[in-house]
Symmetry: C2
Subunit: 327 residues, 2 copies
Amino acid sequence: MTSEAGRWAIGLDLGGSAVKSGLVAADGSIAVFERTPIDRRAGADHLLAALLNQIERLRAAAAERGFEPVGIGVGSPGSIERATGRIHKSPNFAGWTGYPLRDELVRNTELPVYLANDVNAAALGELKFGAGEDYENFIMITLGTGVGGALVIGGRLYDGAEGFAGEIGHMMIDPEGPECPCGNRGCLEQLVGASAMVDRARALLAGSDADGPLAAVPEEELTPEIIGEAAADGDPVGRMVLAESGRWLGLAFITLINVLDPDCILVGGGIAQAGPPLFDAIRQTVGNHAMSGTARIVPIVLAALGTRAGTAGAGALALWPELSCES
Amino acid sequence: MTSEAGRWAIGLDLGGSAVKSGLVAADGSIAVFERTPIDRRAGADHLLAALLNQIERLRAAAAERGFEPVGIGVGSPGSIERATGRIHKSPNFAGWTGYPLRDELVRNTELPVYLANDVNAAALGELKFGAGEDYENFIMITLGTGVGGALVIGGRLYDGAEGFAGEIGHMMIDPEGPECPCGNRGCLEQLVGASAMVDRARALLAGSDADGPLAAVPEEELTPEIIGEAAADGDPVGRMVLAESGRWLGLAFITLINVLDPDCILVGGGIAQAGPPLFDAIRQTVGNHAMSGTARIVPIVLAALGTRAGTAGAGALALWPELSCES
């Protein structure tokens, strides 16, 4: 199986609570996809073992199908040091900062290993198999606990001079806004991240006699996903929260459009699933303020691959290493 | 003369009050540089004639030296339609929007013609011959009446999906800021452009018993350049105006650094000549707030070529067309 269609790679997407893994084919199909829980506080040995377990499982599955994967792609939280294949910084994963992930995986598997930041991997998945397939230049933003971003320029990942590009969550959006642990004030992540959404919902619920579905949720159980689902079902407080998030996102997108003039902006992550209550507010803000000079509306599109984007993109990285910023 | 060192091009930089032109060599030297006044309100025929006059003069100068220029590069205000070589939009130049500049120049000169937006041309000049020579990825910002920008990515100009990238003056910096003709609010250009600086100086001078050099300047004669010179000479009002501009620019640079992770940011244009009173404030703002994740300080550097950057870059465009975004 040497034709393009017959090439497969192992794709691993390391997330905050699980590793999602599968055999990724050159047509984007994923075989034996699996989500395996991990404990991000348990240290690097635990994380490496979890990844190696999945690799072993996938190699066995590949052997059953009569082929050898061309390599291993991994999307990991944190930034990746290009030259060394170490995790540069990943504050939320115990023992992960500085970990020589590429060397450890190569030593244990003797396969080619390719690493990318997790959002970059997801963007690569969308580029090859998803909502970015028709575009050369796009921005991807992921809305979850935090706000992640990635840039595709000229049909390849662009990760900047030292691998840190795409930190859309740390765009300065409001000079009077809340402080951010990064040292700045008014970062997008502080305005639309999970904490901001939950705080906004609590404030709205406390100050009103709202009787939508959200009012029935115990305060400590509120999550962005629950708020998003309620908004999609028409809950008025949920809609107000997403409209506010959409307005801040729209202001950030205006800057991104005016600086980067992308073909489109893809929005992924759990909160993006809320759909129209969020996207309508984004598009309204951008539409009201887009520079007339561009004479066009940049499409703002829901990412297509959902929770499989990272795995698909990690596989794509191993199938087409030239798409990364390293080559 | 076919060796790299012996190649020359005609470089033309069309500005608001003059066309700056010269013979640009592959080593960056400019022969017979000249600044010829134009009237930007006089229409496209006037502008074309001014450009053709300069081209004729430079071809004669080249013939005297015994060579033929390899082509003509032009930096022009407004965005350029890549496919057609028309000026897409240039609201401050009468008759310029929609003008088929490339076709007219080719028809009249029978030389290869390459067009770029004026700030893109200046960035190309800095990339090949100036402060950007050592960098693959940088952002250039020009501070004059307005605020212009250009992006160099992977050693080439990046102008986006449709040629409009680099509109740094229309980054949204303050959601409560002044309205901008572009339709947005709080654009960087509204906060640090010429009008903002002059208004700020007037307000400070009116509300104080300042007795620095600026206090002696008639109010209606205040310009950003005069304010910048006064600040460089230690005038307290001038310094306050530039410190405020530097703070806004620093906030914009934080976003640019976090999104694009550039090798450096080059600052050009007349106001940049003010030097330390401006750059200190920029660097202080960025230094206080840069993401700790990047673990480095992105250099913020005065552009090197001054008023010759556009001419040099226009020549570079004709010498190395592959540096543009079109190829």
